[in-house]
Homo-oligomer: 305 residues x 3
């Protein structure tokens, strides 16, 4: 879990993913040559901004894992505005940095107006991004930290990469704040490789129907509805594989799949990822069994889809 | 009205249109050769998923008719989540099928929480789609059924096809649940045929300004606003034709036109369709005069636009 | 300010921009030849509807200025539905015209239901567009009128054009009502010129952090978050230039940038424009200092980006 911890500690709120992008590029440069099939690394700021693509063999399926996280932007006075949809509670520890130096402050939530603010020894410069301070906790059976959503999806993609023969891994930006990079990633992948099958490597919620430890989640729908025929194929592969998994049905929530569904290409997509408790808080909790089954399921799916 | 009744009885909620797609393909294979101008049938799952295009002669205008309907997905326990925006009332009869067999159950709506559920002799499998049981009713002057929205728009397109010389008919998916197929259909039509004029063959609402029996509706706007110049051309053609019609002005609602408006192509579009009472309920009601004027208006518009 | 006044007086609600388009084309035809670098004028209704592009030299950056404004559409009886998000107050003067002639009426707002209507000597035809009556007011230090949003953005672009050597100016449609033209403008610009840097020439709000007279606003974010690296470059150029400016951080609001962010091209974008009081009312107020610094900042940015 050392890699996961490292990923969780790198601040990368939506729009400001560049530090995590650099980490991914370094990591692939260092470890990629030893992978079963060293990938083609596609990264060109003029064409892909802060995104990265890894292309393995003759790809049929693309895995999308978003780099960015939720967070906060400093507004005026001591106000904050959210980046994406963070859980907010007075006392949450936030970190960042502006031209005056490093920042370690605490979140405040006005009980009446629900307005967000911060407490700190000085004013923070307008426009500064703040993210949760990372307190990574590991037990025999669980990991807990901020930003498991979606550093675990990124971790899953990097571990999948070790043994992947054919496929594409796409590291995207802005997912937590309305998207905006998947459209051009999908365009490039579709035009260059003819690939139109997608898996969304991301984290979902524990609910009355989805439990911690019961296996990786295959989502049959969230706020969007994927094409039934594709999802059925994935279910059959998962069942045949024997890898523990559970089925999700939601009316809300979304993922990078939104940008695939809206694109002018015929992408099929399905969300496949571990569930967590404490979504978008500093205390996101995931069961290690679900991490294991997520990676196993991706290994099977990338072979058989 | 036999064809319309058949169309209304085929379950095809958003994301699960495949059965209706097969019906359309069979119907065109059977009847198309006898049409005035047998169309080129474009259907390729890899490029168009469950959509179908019919291309007639040298097209200048495309007619979009969505195949899908609203419905429900079985969640956990006996919960349902909506597909699109169905009207909900305790007692509505729902049908579907899962691996245990056919389902005929009834909708329940919790009076306090408005939570949706079902009553049935057994639990239904997670992720199963349910649609309204079709009770097709016809009088001298009206038809009534679930899913006239948009099986009547599909019917109108298939009847228009009989005499169409130049034009494209596009059967789309997912319209009731956020769209997602019109972008690539529009892309293909625009790139292949240079067509950028659209008519939306769909059903609208009876309101204080739009009555049953007063003719097919030309919508001047809904939640989106079409380009005035194009709508004015349609109004002039309609007026000159003498076909009964009425003008709609709404601030809400949408159609497949949303995906045209957002596309990176300069599509002009206008919604033209019959009005109905009981929208998105099992009891959608349409006046036969409006059906007749809808078909007549499409025949004129496809000739003159 | 004669040009600005003329621009404010031309009705051009979303979807009905054609009159302003004609004015822009005439203006460029008349004045363009005397500009430092006469631009290539791109206007072709079949490809760009009512939009206009001006291409100067070897462009690296595109300036987007929307032509359209908010307004109202006549519904049934004496009802109105809004175009975009107008400020509404009983008594606001509205103008328009239908087949019976010119219209000068007043807005009514039902105190209980907030329903919009009009008072006039006769019924107005269904679907007629109404806009605020323009009362242009100028002092030594301010201008006040309806539709400074975005006629001042258009004015800024036309004044910028006088000395521009390299760049693109794009006049867009529908911005106030959900967009729909920037996708194809951006597609054409990106495909033809490889340009993917954008500035949004539009008007923002006076808030507790943004004051009248304190200089042109560089927005660090609104409801969307631009890529940090691009915005930082703009901030550094602005600081080095010495042109007065202020930084905005909002959690709401949007602009033509939405369509760039969602596009399948890697556009970088930043909103740069003067702030106003009385947004979307007949009494929008802007400080002349902010107008001057807006134009100066655009001149610097188009040179240095």
């Amino acid at each position: 879990m050392q890699l996961l911890q490292t990923l969780c500690r790198i601040p990368a709120p939506s729009g400001e993913e560049a530090a995590l992008t650099r980490f991914i590029l370094d990591y692939v440069r260092q470890h990629g040559p030893a992978w079963r099939q060293p990938p083609l690394v596609v990264h060109d700021e003029a064409r892909f901004q802060d995104c990265v693509l890894l292309v393995f063999g003759q790809p049929r399926t693309a895995v999308f894992a978003h780099l960015d996280s939720i967070g906060f932007t400093v507004r005026y006075g001591r106000e904050l505005v959210p980046i994406g949809g963070p859980e907010t509670e007075t006392g949450y520890r936030l970190v960042g940095c502006d031209s005056q130096g490093d920042i370690a402050c605490t979140l405040t939530v006005n009980e009446e107006t629900e307005a967000l603010g911060y407490e700190f020894s000085r004013d923070i410069e307008r426009g500064t991004s703040l993210t949760f301070a990372c307190e990574f906790r590991e037990t025999e059976t669980t990991v807990q930290s901020c930003y498991l959503d979606n550093r675990l999806g990124v971790w899953n993609a990097l571990r999948l990469a070790e043994t992947l023969e054919h496929g594409i891994i796409a590291f995207s930006c802005w997912e937590e704040h309305g998207g905006g990079s998947v459209p051009y990633l999908a365009r490039y992948i579709y035009d260059t490789y003819g690939v139109r099958q997608a898996l969304i490597s991301d984290i979902t919620w524990v609910t009355e129907g989805v439990q911690l430890g019961a296996g990786c989640v295959i989502s049959l729908r969230d706020s969007l509805i994927p094409r039934r025929g594709y999802v059925e194929r994935i279910r059959r592969i998962a069942e045949a594989s024997g890898v523990p998994h559970q089925l999700e049905v939601e009316g809300e929530g979304g993922s990078d799949a939104k940008d695939l569904q809206r694109s002018d290409m015929p992408w099929d997509w399905c969300f496949v990822g571990a569930p967590e408790d404490g979504v978008h808080s500093p205390n996101e909790l995931i069961d290690k069994h679900d991490i294991a089954s997520m990676l196993q399921l991706y290994q099977v799916l990338l072979r058989e889809l």
